[in-house]
């Protein structure tokens, strides 16, 4: 099944799939960030894949590697009870950004706000990109980044 998903994405978006990864039964498709909205729409609407449910969006900081930031989408299908993860690395290490998927799933709204709040990733096209967990005054500080100290700032 997981190869079928990968093939489907590859067939529709041949230039977008960078790599795939299989670890302990978890499938991750590494993609370019530009067409994330279209890829998510395909996976959601295609009756064979049917990933109509977005579990979570996580942001990862790979400092000192470049590209530094990655955004990971965990999708679930209620039909096949399968999961797939999409991982997209943001091109710019200084001002990371990626298109928003709020138009695909409403639940992405708060997940993306959390990623913006804690990791400083800008979601282009998000209707209401504000900080969510930390106070609004923390302008410029993103606590989950690896260069943010654990104590005493």
């Amino acid at each position: 099944m997981s190869t079928a998903i990968i093939e489907k994405v590859k067939a529709q978006f041949p230039d977008e799939v960078v790599d795939t990864d299989e670890f302990r039964g978890d499938t991750t498709i590494i993609i370019r960030p530009e067409k994330i909205t279209e890829i998510c729409t395909l996976l959601r609407d295609d009756p064979e894949t049917g990933f109509r449910y977005l579990s979570s969006i996580s942001a990862v900081d790979y400092q000192p590697a470049s590209p530094r930031y990655a955004v990971v989408y965990h999708l679930y299908s209620h039909g096949s009870h399968q999961r797939v993860a999409l991982k997209a690395c943001c091109a710019d290490d200084e001002a990371p950004s990626i298109p928003s998927v709020v138009s695909v799933w409403n639940t992405a709204n708060w997940h993306e706000r959390e990623c913006y709040d804690l990791m400083g990733i800008k979601f282009v096209g998000h209707p209401d990109l504000r900080r969510i967990l930390t106070p609004a005054e923390c302008e410029g500080y993103y606590p989950l980044r690896k260069d943010y100290p654990v104590r005493g700032y």
Binding site: D26, Y53, T107, L144, Y148
Partner: protein, 396 residues
């Protein structure tokens, strides 16, 4: 005559609900824009309990993260430990012995009953039903006693360890637990009598906070929130973990997706959990409760005292911690409030590179503004109650 001439004021009013308000179940603040008593806009302001648990995990060993995870949803600490240890075990590629799996199921399902009882008591209380709280806490206290028996504490267990359990069940636990789950359906009837046909309860909850199955998927709802709308999905059945496939249980479903149906679903879930606990206790297999792998689980104490190799293994796990191979896993469990997911990235060192907690309360709460729009202010209290949020779970 238009309405502007007749009504003295036409602008909307801003109202602050919380952060300290009994109905917000912790420290939740909701910015409300009201037109009279009708909600025009609701904007939850969260983060008052943000402790940076994900960040703290990155600077601790895998074992040291355990006490942090059970503080995520403090009403079901066991569940958070459960998700975390399963994720780390998946990363390590180990499976704990059958006995440990069964004991985990027993404790997790007891926690589910305790958490649902807490929800029943408090959300009933929010809507003016004082009595269910006392009945619910009567049984919850019995579960807390069982917890104390098993690990010596009430809310923050750390009883599940990576590779097994902190210890086997104490003598006498099985009998007390069995007595409890056998008597539970009778006590459950008390809550049922108080609320299910209560006219005030029905008036406050029917057709309030309605979600269609499509909206449930769109808003990422899971657990009893999704099942209240008839979405037939339970991770214990559909993606079984920890031997859930060995137990016979029904996944209760609602029809209308309103607050009342979610109440019915949670009520039935308590009975099903009691059934699972009973089956697990009756079928509890003998054997060890820890994996026999010195790199993962602490060796038994008697071996540590008598055997130099075990002493070294013990020392290494405490000093250095366990080192899973580099890779990333996502492990979700059916927690009391919905899908609880742990996304852990390992770089091969003794500290997790990244731990992401997919908290069900956070996702479930995000749909509240949608449900509140156009409803009465008093309905918002019912909606916040039905979401069964724990703010520590929302904020992490």
């Amino acid at each position: 005559m238009n309405s502007a001439e007749t009504s003295p004021r036409t602008e909307t009013m801003l109202l602050n609900l919380g952060p300290q308000h009994p109905s917000t179940h912790g420290v939740l603040r909701v910015w409300l824009e009201l037109d009279g008593e009708i909600i025009v806009n609701a904007d939850p302001d969260i983060g008052y309990l943000h402790r940076g648990i994900e960040k703290m995990c990155e600077n601790r060993t895998y074992h040291q993260c355990l006490p942090l995870t059970n503080r995520v949803d403090y009403l079901a600490g066991e569940m958070n430990n459960f998700g975390y240890v399963l994720a780390v075990e998946k990363l390590l590629g180990v499976e704990v012995p059958k006995r440990a799996q069964y004991i985990r199921v027993i404790m997790a399902e007891l926690t589910r009953i305790a958490s649902h009882l807490f929800w029943l008591g408090t959300s009933g209380h929010d809507l003016g039903a004082m009595t269910p709280l006392f009945y619910a806490f009567r049984e919850r206290e019995q579960i807390m006693d069982l917890c104390e028996l098993a690990w010596g504490g009430r809310l923050f267990p750390c009883y599940f360890r990576i590779g097994g359990l902190a210890a086997d069940l104490p003598n006498g636990f099985e009998k007390i637990a069995l007595d409890f789950v056998k008597s539970f359906p009778k006590k459950w009837k008390d809550y049922d009598n108080l609320l299910t046909k209560n006219r005030i309860w029905i008036a406050r909850t029917k057709d309030v906070g309605v979600m269609t199955p499509d909206e449930v998927l769109d808003w990422g709802w899971s657990g009893p929130m999704a099942r209240g709308s008839g979405v037939d999905w339970d991770l214990r059945r559909d993606n079984p973990y920890s031997s859930y496939e060995d137990f016979d249980f029904v996944v209760p479903l609602g029809k209308n997706g309103d607050t009342y149906d979610r109440y019915l679903v949670r009520m039935q879930e308590m009975l099903q959990s009691a059934r699972i606990v009973q089956q697990a206790l009756e079928k509890l297999p003998p054997g060890d409760v820890n994996v026999d792998d010195p790199r993962v689980a602490l060796p038994p104490k008697e071996k540590v005292y008598k055997n130099i190799e075990s002493l070294i293994n013990h020392f290494l796990i405490i000093e250095e911690g366990i080192k899973p191979p580099a890779g990333e896993v996502y492990q979700a469990i059916e927690a009391t409030k919905g899908e609880l997911g742990f996304y852990i990235i390992s770089d091969g060192s003794a500290h997790p590179f990244r731990v992401k907690i997919r908290a069900p309360s956070f996702v479930n709460l995000s749909a509240v503004p949608k449900l509140a729009k156009g409803r009465l202010l008093s309905d918002l209290i019912a909606i916040i109650g039905t979401v069964d949020i724990v703010l520590a779970d929302v904020d992490r």
